[in-house]
Symmetry: C2
Subunit: 433 residues, 2 copies
């Protein structure tokens, strides 16, 4: 098919009319589908049901060191869970704190603590005239939500397939002492599914920030979330690289089992340097007596070790890989060569990122909504929900059943084509005036 | 036996020598016992093991409203858990947020949020020159730990068997806008086991604080923790009373199942007004996607309703009542009439409060430690660990086995007598000079 940009006004109009008819057929189907959030589907959750049997009333709920997991104590997590999470995160168990059910919560707390008390003796951020933050874009809306809530000024940094624009990152953090952090999803990034190149990781570890309390918030949310056996992204481990580069305290690394077992009923962890751990525990001891050790034990007994997690994630991949492929194939078939959109083809993670013609994203999402398919709000992938190009849309293929997803993906392409054709017709009309 | 204060110097010295010999016998036993923290004992934890069977791989983990507890979502807790916690807290489910595993964590977060963002549109506390707090004493060390961590100036308020000195509370909160809160354990208080009288609760609900963002932190930690069937303390419900008094937003009420099922693996909840709930959820939505719903469901399915909790708590009481009675009997037998100490006899909760002669508490705790019995540090029940009288010691009888407790309680009385005798001898010596 001809690219839309090469069509005459008449051809575009004909195309638009056909699309509108097709769109109305979708509307008549009265769909109610959701591709908005990175949620596992029912079959993925079913994979972990065995975890509900692993502890029962006959189980010994004591750790290897004799700690009774049913009682108070153990602020930073039971040892065997540090070992498990450490193996998953490629860090030593000594560098791990095991938390409760949500790594987002750990990130929030980490910002909140810096806000009220400061990092390692530095001025609490609440006492500073301004705090700024680097936000690779497009990025994760809930990251941006935390920094926005604290009134931290967010500066967008463009993403590329190898990671954030490191020239810009290096320059900004070196120049501006009020820049205190950067949000990173280094592996299978949200929403593009990009993984940082070795050079990017090396440059991160060698940043020379003006602020002593600048920290990289390294959200390794998709560390073991590969879609393929034969195409897997692997990164240089950031804590070790920071250590080698003489910047041992510059990074907080986060992970959780939310998209491994049950979101909301999993365990989260932080990996960081000994100095940072000491600083954090000083707060943590006032905040809680300890997190849910029975659930930590449940995860350890269920997975046993990293091999157990990997085997489990292969089953997860088998369920969601066809969904990613369905979306990618539908996009290729319906939009390939039309010049009205680009999309990513990640090797893992939870999202596909779609870029429409500038000025079309909001309307595409709106059109899909009106035909019963909910997408992540346009703009959500940018700080303050402001996508200056109005072009990025996050696609979350995991939750809907495959049959529904096929329909939703097709409808999405119809919306993209319809909005793009209309947009180009309007541009033509503007030119004629 | 004669009161120590009525003994001659010679009688006291003889007594002291005998006690020292007795103390050495205890030391020779090489004990290692712990009466420091309010921890349930193994038998109490065993009571809840049935909870480990209530969910298994065949269970339907969906709520009554169809929500799959295994997936993301439901910020403020599943409905049936709000009903259960509401019943336990004597509040409507509409007024409840169900949290994670720790009410201490919820209290910390509540202070932290007021610190960074302010309460209901008021100035964030971090922007104020000074924030003050009322602390009924003796009180709970971890409460004081939170306010101390935020640099909040703590003002001690004397406790009586009917609650805090309300004349003082009323006067201070009315006069001083920088007073933003008060820590309360209204039922079976920590450490005295006192319960607030109806008049005290009514006066709390009718406070006229100068600060609009003054809040009562009502930690109902021992709401269902009765020791006896026939002697139970019951309080006027504070949210309803605040509502009646025209102060609906003045209280945050906290509770958890930590000392009902498994500490660290239970669920916590907050009850408060609709306005406060709205204010809190605005923060909560940035902090987390939701707490552990599977664990919420586990608790609901296990207890079913308030009757289930009450039946369970009766079994708990059967285990720990003899421990309270053992300590009280030992104190009565060994210290009764000596005029060197007073102690409380609570109807519930987790502690007995002991007051020694002024200036003796630290040394008593130290002596007990040197004979292998760990007590809560002297001073811990006061803000900044500063007990001006050096007289209060918190006794936590639940954790040690009864046989150990008998020995520990007896040793404690030996330490009290020895330190008191020595103290009185020194006073005599000082007088002679």
């Amino acid at each position: 098919m001809k690219a839309y940009t090469e069509m005459t006004k008449e051809e575009l109009q004909t195309e638009f009319d056909q699309l509108q008819a097709e769109y109305r057929k979708f509307q008549a189907m009265q769909l109610s589908l959701n591709m908005a959030r990175g949620k596992p589907c029912k079959e993925q959750l079913d994979l972990s049901m065995g975890m509900m049997d692993i502890l029962n009333s006959s189980s010994d709920l004591c750790c290897e060191d004799g700690t009774d997991c049913r009682n108070y104590g153990v602020l930073d997590g039971i040892w065997e869970c540090k070992v498990l999470m450490g193996a998953m995160m490629e860090n030593d168990p000594e560098n791990i704190i095991v938390y409760g059910n949500s790594s987002l919560n750990v990130m929030y707390d980490t910002v909140a603590r810096a806000w009220s008390h400061g990092i390692m003796g530095n001025t609490p951020w609440c006492k500073l005239p301004e705090v700024k933050w680097l936000c690779p874009v497009p990025g994760y809306d809930r990251h941006f939500g935390i920094t926005e809530y604290f009134g931290i000024k967010m500066i967008p940094v463009p993403m590329s397939p190898t990671g954030p624009d490191m020239d810009m990152v290096e320059k900004l953090v070196a120049e501006d002492e009020s820049i205190k952090g950067i949000w990173c999803v280094p592996k299978y990034s949200n929403p593009q599914g990009y993984s940082y190149s070795d050079e990017t990781v090396r440059r991160f570890a060698r940043l020379k920030p003006a602020a002593k309390d600048f920290r990289i918030f390294w959200d390794n949310a998709y560390g073991v979330h590969h879609l393929y056996d034969d195409h897997q992204d692997n990164l240089i481990e950031i804590l070790a690289e920071c250590q080698r580069a003489g910047n041992p305290d510059m990074v907080y690394k986060f992970a959780s089992t939310s998209k491994i077992t049950f979101p909301g009923s999993g365990i989260a962890a932080l990996a960081t340097s000994a100095n940072n751990l000491k600083d954090i525990k000083e707060q943590l001891k006032h905040q809680t007596i300890g997190h849910d050790k029975v659930n930590q034990l449940r995860h350890v007994r269920y997975f046993k070790n990293l091999d157990g997690i990997k085997a489990h994630m292969r089953k997860q991949a088998d369920i969601i890989r066809p969904k990613f492929e369905c979306v990618e194939d539908t996009f290729e078939t319906e939009l390939g060569g039309l010049g009205i959109g680009t999309w990513t083809k990640p090797n893992g993670g939870y999202f596909i990122s779609f870029d429409s013609l500038p000025g079309c994203a909001r309307e595409i999402v709106d059109k899909a909504k009106k035909a019963g398919v909910t997408l992540t709000g346009a703009g959500a992938t940018w700080p303050y929900h402001r996508d200056p190009q109005d072009s990025n849309i996050r696609i979350a293929p995991t939750y809907p059943p495959l049959d529904d997803l096929k329909i939703a993906a097709k409808l999405f392409t119809v919306c993209v084509k319809m909005v793009s054709a209309e947009h180009l017709l309007q541009l033509d009309a503007t030119k004629e005036k």
